[in-house]
Structures are given as C-alpha cells and as structure tokens.
Symmetry: C2
Subunit: 241 residues, 2 copies
C-alpha cells in the first residue's frame, strides 16, 4: 500500500513536471518566434549625422566631416535595413533623388545583390533624380542585349529599372529586402523627405504584410515590361527613363 | 500488485491526457491570438463601385446610381475600417479632399466618436480640401470657447482640427482607430489617390506598429496646440486652417 502511494506520487510529480516543462518550452518557442518577427517604425525628419561607418563597417575610416558622429538616427536605421540585403532588393518608389540612398543601392549592386527599381516615369526625369545613375550602373545596353532575361524576368547581380507606363502617378514608396523584409511608408527617397518633412517608415517581417507587397511588385514589374511596351523601350533608348 | 498497476496506468493516462489537453489549449489560444491580430494590405487604384450600403448597413436604401453595386473594393474595405471606430479617430493626413472619406468622418462624428485631425497647413487651404468642412462640423467658435479642453487636450464627440505649424511638409497619411487599429501608407485622402494612382494602405492591429504611431500623433498634436501657437490661432480665426 505504501509502495503504491509512493509510485503514484512519483508518477503524479512526473506528470506535473512534464506538463510544466512542455508549457515552458511552448512559451519559450512562441516568445522567440514573436521576437524574431521584426516590427519597427521610424519617424522623420531624421537628425543629421555622419553615416560613413554604416557603409564601411568592417574597416571604418576616420571621417573628418563636420556632422555628428556615432549617432543612431532614423536615417541610419533605414540605411542599415536596406544594406542588410544579401540577395535582392525590389524598390518601388515615386521619387528617388537621395544620393546617400543611391550610394547604398550601388553598394548592394557591387556585392552582387540583384536590384529591381520601379519608378514613376515623370519623376524619374526631374533634376537630381538618381534613376539615371542606377540605370547607368546596371548598364542600359547590356540590359537591352539580354532583353529576354533581364527585362522580361530577372538576372542575378543586376540593376534593372522600369518606369510605370500609366498616365497616373506610381505613388508607392516601398522596398522589399531579400523577399523577407518590407520597408514602406510616406517617405519618398529624397533629401527633403529625410531631412525636412514629417514622414514615417514602417519596417516589418510579418508575412501577412510582406507577401502582398511582393505579389504587387511582381504584378507591376510584369505590367511594365519594356519587351511588352514599345513606348517604354523608346523612352529608355533615349535615356529618359 | 494488480491494483497498483491499474492505478499507475490510470494515473499515467491521466497525466498524458492532461499534458495533451494543455498543449492543445495553448495552441488554440496562440492560434486564436494570432488570428485576432489583423494585418491587411490594400492596393489602389480601387475599382469604382457604389458604397452607399456601407454608410447605411442597418437600413440599406435602394441606390439607383450608375456605379456597380455589391462589389467589395480596396476603397470599400478602407471605408469599413474607418467606420469601425467606436470611440476615437486620430487622423494625420497631408491632403484631404475626398468627399466620401469626409462623409465617413462626419458620420463618425454624428455617432459621438471623437475626431482629431492633424494636417498640412498649405494643403488644408487648397481648393476642394475637406479640412474646412470638418472644422465647421466641429464648430470653430465652440472649439475656441473651450480652448483649455478641446484644443489643449481632448473632448469627447468632437472634431478638432490642427494644422502643422512647421515650414516643411507634414507628409504623413495615417489614421489610428480607437487607439487600436493603424491605417497607414502612401495614399492621401484624395479622389485622385483612390481612383487613379498606384498606392498602398497597410492596416494592422500589431501593437509594436500601432503604439509608435499613437505616440507620434500625441507628440505632434501637442506641438501644434494653438494655445501655444499664436500664428495658428490667427490662421484658424481667419478660417484658413
């Protein structure tokens, strides 16, 4: 009788221990899972600070510029997220004239990251637009010579630029990093937006939010395929888009 | 001996059943929790369709307009989210000229929902802006007579409008419904943005995304308090903002 009671106690305690352990494991896993899903909001105007160390993190050069150093800002955080791309950057932006953001895209390109840029055709031609710089880095002629691969689909380590062909505004301001991270908001990729305006940027890895943007980018990219659009081809060949 | 084995089996089975039940309950709760967190993306331009039934859902009137009826669109979904407000709507928008969205805000106001609108001072004065309509509905004079409550803090069931006093653009386009639901994106509250442009709206209840916007709205609302800003008071008293 005594032995049975001891056994029951042992089994009971074992069951309780097992339940508690499983509960703890479940909580830990769900906690880690929710921790892993990045959700961040950045507000602008951003403080102005030197970002040289973000471009050269492994071999930081001494920077003698007059801007504050070692300050983390909304802009530096945005830059870090963009530069976290290791395979692809899909950028869909109304206006792109910010030279530091352009430098970030060119740096990714030099590392073999595949860049696709979809922009508004009117704003791509305004003074200071970086669209021409990106297109030049991607190589207009080489882009044309591999029309079936680069312009119709996707080639690794390239910058391919397409202009929205509709008569209305392509007013999006979003980027998708490595088909994983969404960067979206009110902020155009201009100096005024970063340094002067009141703007927001939302950064998330939440699949329910990222996936629709990937799908929409894919749809618009296909819609604005120059191979399907003679007017766009003409604009590109004249260096206007 | 036989009795002890039976008891052990019963206790063992009980422990397993308890563990499995707790695991199931935990999974169910976490599943329901993740299901409850709304994350939705809407793309524009929206199809054009009649939205009369959204304004009068309990007593739908026969609508003889020429637009398609019974069609769910990005715009109708956006309207439903705005009209889901039961206590408050904090709106921070660069340009607001869409009359249907204005009607939605006025409907919420008539139901006692407290509305705060923060907008760009330049765009609030352009032709077709709904800011004057909202301010009128809120009551300029009554707003002034209770300056300490309405303009400095918050009064229930009112529309209070403030204009960003800075010389740069207040370029946000977001709304917070009941301090719970965030509506944000590239879309200004204009007819062109809804019907013509390529735009996005992201709708989320994710606290990590909603809370920063609530905090930023609170900060900007305080910064643009007319009680602290004589220039804004002058603009309001002249009906310009």
């Amino acid at each position: 009788m005594m032995s049975m009671m001891v056994t029951m106690k042992v089994v009971g305690l074992g069951a309780v221990a097992l339940t508690v352990s499983l509960e703890l494991l479940s909580w830990l896993l769900s906690h880690l899972r929710s921790r892993r899903t990045l959700n961040q909001v950045l507000f602008f105007p951003s403080e102005t600070a030197c970002v040289e160390h973000i471009f050269t993190p492994t071999s930081p050069r001494f920077c003698s510029c007059s801007l504050p150093h070692g300050v983390e800002t909304s802009f530096s955080r945005l830059l870090r997220h963009i530069l976290s791309a290791s395979t692809s950057l899909d950028l869909c932006v109304f206006s792109f004239s910010n030279m530091v953001l352009s430098r970030a895209v060119l740096l990714l390109h030099s590392k073999g990251v595949t860049i696709r840029v979809l922009t508004d055709k009117d704003y791509s031609a305004i003074s200071g637009s970086q669209i021409g710089v990106l297109r030049e880095a991607g190589g207009i002629s080489s882009c044309f010579s591999v029309l079936s691969t680069c312009l119709s689909s996707f080639t690794t380590g390239r910058i391919c630029v397409r202009c929205d062909k509709s008569s209305t505004h392509m007013h999006h301001k979003f980027a998708v990093v490595d088909s994983r991270l969404l960067i979206t908001g009110s902020l155009n990729w201009t100096l005024t937006a970063v340094q002067n305006n009141m703007e927001n940027i939302l950064i998330t890895e939440e699949p329910d939010l990222v996936k629709p943007f990937i799908k929409e980018f894919h749809r618009m990219w296909g819609l604005n395929d120059p191979a399907q659009n003679h007017q766009n081809q003409k604009l590109i060949s004249h260096g206007m888009c």
